[in-house]
Amino acid sequence: MGIDIGSTTSKCVLLKNGKEIVGSALVQAGVGTDGPDEACRILLEKSDISEYQVDYRIATGYGRARWKKADEAISELSAHALGSYFLFPEARTVIDIGGQDAKVIALNEKGQLQNFVMNDKCAAGTGRFLDVMAGILKIQVSELENLAAQSLNPVSISNTCTVFAESEVISQLAAGSSVNDVVAGICVSVAGRVAALARRVGVKEQVCMSGGVAINGGVRKAMEQILGVKIFCSPFAQMTGALGAALYAYHKIKL
C-alpha cells in the first residue's frame, strides 16, 4: 500500500504483485487530520481487504513522517518518479504540481530519479495559488479548465506572488476583463512559473504531469504552449505519488 499525505488531500493506492492496481481512495483532508486513516479505511472497504492482508505500507508527502501506520516513508520526489514511470514508461520529465509545492523531476531510461528542482517558499505556481484565485472568482477549481477554454484574450497575471496576483485579479475584474480571460491568465501564470523550473532541470520528452493540478487542462495546455512539448497526463494523475509509494512497498517486500 502507498499513501500520499499532502497539504490538502490524502491519497491511497493498493497494489497487487507490483502491477495490478487493486483500488484507490482520495479524501479531501491532508496533514494533521484524520484524512490518511479515512483514505485507508475507504480503500480497504472498497477493495474488500482487511488491514492484515496489507504486506507493507509506504507513506509519502508532507505528512509522511507523522503517519504511524507506515512501515517506511519516502520523499514525494521518488514516489512521483516511480508512479509516473509506471504510468508512462517513456517519461523522462515529470512535472508535479501539488497543493503547496511544484516540482520538476528528471528520470533516466530506467525510471530512476536523476535530479529535481522544486519551487521556493512562495506559493505562486502551486495548487494553493489556484485555490486562492478560484476563491476570489467564487468558482470551483474544477471549473477553471472549461472557463479558460472559452477565453479569447487571456489577461496577464503576475506569476511572482499569490498575494500580488490576488489584487491583480480584482483589478482586472474591476477594469472589465471577463472571468474567462482572467481564468486563462491565472492558468498561464501557474504554467509560466513551473515552466521556468522545468527549464532549469532540462525538458526531455516524454513529459508527463502528475499531482492534483495536472487534471486541470487549463494549466496543462498553457504549459504545453510555453514549453512547446506535448504533455501526457493520466486520469490517475492525482494518485501518482501514492502509486509510487505502493510500487516502492512492492520492491521492498520483493527483496
Binding site: I74, S78, L113, Y248
Partner: protein, 413 residues
C-alpha cells in the same frame, strides 16, 4: 525503576583543537572588551577586510558578521531583525546587516555582546550591501569609516593594475588607522603576522584536505565552527598552533579509523552557502540522520591565504569567493567535489545573500553537469529564522539521499 541520571558531559580536553579554537574565538570578544575598558579605540571590521592590517598595528577589532551568526544561532535573530525593520530597514536586506544595525542601536544582546565601535573597517570584496550597512552605522554613531574598494573581478587572474589600485587604498587605510589610534605600522611586525597568517592557512588547508579519505575523518559542520578563527584570528600565533592541532587530529582520526562524524558515513556531499545558523541543528540532523556527511564547502578553499609579501596579500584578498567570476568560482568548487569524492551538492539559497545565491542556480547546474552529481537546493537564511521551512528542507534532503542511494544500486525510495 529509578530514573536514569543524565550523564554529565565530560570536561573538554584543553589540549584538543576544539577547545583551543573555541578559546581563541571567545577571547577575540573578551580582548576587545578589555581594550575598550582600558580606553583603547576598538573597530568593527568586515570579514574579508585584510585582518593583517589591524593585527600588525595591534588594534582590537570585532566582527559584526560573526556576532550576527552567534546571535542567530542562539535564537535571537528574529528579535534583532524586527528592531531594524521597525527602523525602516526592509526584510529583504541581509539579516547580518539588520542584526548589526539593531545592535548598534540597542547596544546589548546577551546572546553575544561586543564593545561599541570607535571606527569601522569595511571592504566590499564580500558584498556591496556591506557598504551601506557600514555607512549607516558610521552615520548613526558619528564615527569614521575606512572603506576599501576591491572590485568584482571578471578575469581569471588578478592584474597588476588591480593590485596597484587596491594597494593605494591599503596604504591609505594604514595611514588613517595610525591617525585614529595613535599606533604605528611596523614592517617587522607585519612579517610576523604574515608568517602566522600563512601558517594558519596552510594548517587549515591541510585539515580540510583530509576529507579526501572515505570515510572522512571529520564532520564538515565542524568547519563552520572552526572558520570563526580563520576569519578573525588567522594572523595570531595561537591560531596557527590550534589549527595545526586540528590538522594533526584529523590525520590521526584517519589513521585510527575515527571521525567526528557520528554514525556510518553513507553519502558525502558538498554544502554550498553560508550556514543556516538559526536552524543549524535541524539542517545538521537532517543530514546526519541519513548518514550524509557534508565533507566540504568552499570555505575549505576560501581561507587558504598563502602569500609571501604585501602585494601577494593584496592578490589573495582580490580572489576571495564573492569577488570572483562564475567560471573561477565554479572551477574551485569542481576541484573540491572531485578531490573529496563528493556524491551530491546541497545548495542553501540564502535569502540574505543575493550575491552568493543569485548566481548559484547557474553555477550549481554547471557543477552538477561537470561532476555528474545531483544538485538540490533549499530556501533559508543565514540569520533570519523566518525564511526557512523545515518540511521543505526534509523533503529535499531525503530526495537527495534517495538519489545517491539509488546510484549505488539501492532500491529507489
Amino acid at each position: 525503576m529509578p530514573e536514569e541520571k543524565k550523564k554529565a558531559r565530560p570536561a573538554p580536553d584543553p589540549n584538543s583543537a576544539k577547545y583551543k579554537l573555541g578559546e581563541i574565538a571567545a577571547k577575540a570578544y573578551s580582548d576587545a572588551q578589555e581594550a575598550k575598558e582600558r580606553g583603547e579605540k576598538v573597530g568593527w571590521i568586515s570579514s574579508n577586510f585584510p585582518v593583517e592590517i589591524p593585527e600588525t598595528l595591534g588594534i582590537p577589532v570585532c566582527y559584526p558578521e560573526n556576532q550576527a551568526a552567534g546571535i542567530a544561532a542562539r535564537g535571537a535573530g528574529a528579535r534583532l531583525c524586527e528592531i531594524a525593520e521597525g527602523d525602516g530597514y526592509s526584510n529583504d536586506i541581509c539579516a547580518y546587516a539588520r542584526i548589526s544595525l539593531a545592535y548598534a542601536k540597542i547596544k546589548e544582546a546577551p546572546e553575544q555582546d561586543m564593545p561599541q565601535p570607535d571606527f569601522l573597517l569595511c571592504c566590499n570584496n564580500i558584498c556591496n550591501c556591506m557598504i551601506k550597512w557600514y555607512e549607516n552605522i558610521a552615520k548613526e554613531l558619528d564615527i569614521p569609516l575606512i572603506m576599501l574598494d576591491i572590485p568584482f573581478n571578471p578575469d581569471y587572474e588578478v592584474s597588476d593594475y588591480e593590485v596597484a589600485y587596491v594597494k593605494g587604498q591599503f596604504l591609505e587605510a594604514i595611514r588613517q588607522l595610525e591617525q585614529i589610534t595613535g599606533k604605528n605600522w611596523s614592517d617587522e611586525r607585519f612579517k610576523t603576522v604574515m608568517k602566522n597568517s600563512c601558517r594558519t592557512s596552510r594548517a587549515w588547508l591541510e585539515a580540510t584536505s583530509y576529507a579526501r579519505y572515505t570515510p572522512s575523518p571529520f564532520n564538515g559542520f565542524d568547519l563552520l565552527n572552526h572558520m570563526a578563527v580563520m576569519v578573525t584570528a588567522r594572523g595570531k600565533e595561537e591560531a596557527a598552533k590550534a589549527m595545526e592541532t586540528l590538522a594533526k587530529e584529523y590525520k590521526e582520526n584517519h589513521e585510527t579509523g575515527k571521525s567526528t562524524f557520528r554514525g556510518e558515513e553513507k553519502h558525502r556531499i558538498m554544502f554550498e552557502g553560508i550556514a543556516c545558523w538559526p536552524w543549524l541543528r535541524v539542517t545538521s540532523s537532517g543530514l546526519k540522520d541519513r548518514g550524509i556527511n557534508m565533507v566540504t564547502t568552499i570555505y575549505a578553499d576560501a581561507f587558504g591565504f598563502i602569500y609571501d609579501d604585501f602585494d601577494g596579500m593584496i592578490r589573495a584578498y582580490c580572489k576571495v569567493p564573492n569577488a570572483i567570476n562564475l567560471e573561477l568560482s565554479r572551477d574551485k568548487r569542481v576541484k573540491l567535489v572531485k578531490a573529496n569524492n563528493v556524491e551530491g551538492l546541497l545548495v542553501h539559497v540564502n535569502r540574505s545573500c543575493k550575491l552568493w545565491s543569485g548566481f548559484m542556480n547557474e553555477m550549481s547546474r554547471q557543477i552538477g553537469q561537470e561532476c555528474s552529481i545531483p544538485v538540490v537546493s533549499f530556501d533559508g537564511d543565514q540569520a533570519d529564522p523566518r525564511n526557512f521551512s523545515e518540511a521543505q528542507y526534509e523533503t529535499r534532503v531525503q530526495a537527495l539521499a534517495e538519489i545517491m542511494a539509488s546510484r549505488k544500486g539501492d532500491v529507489q525510495g
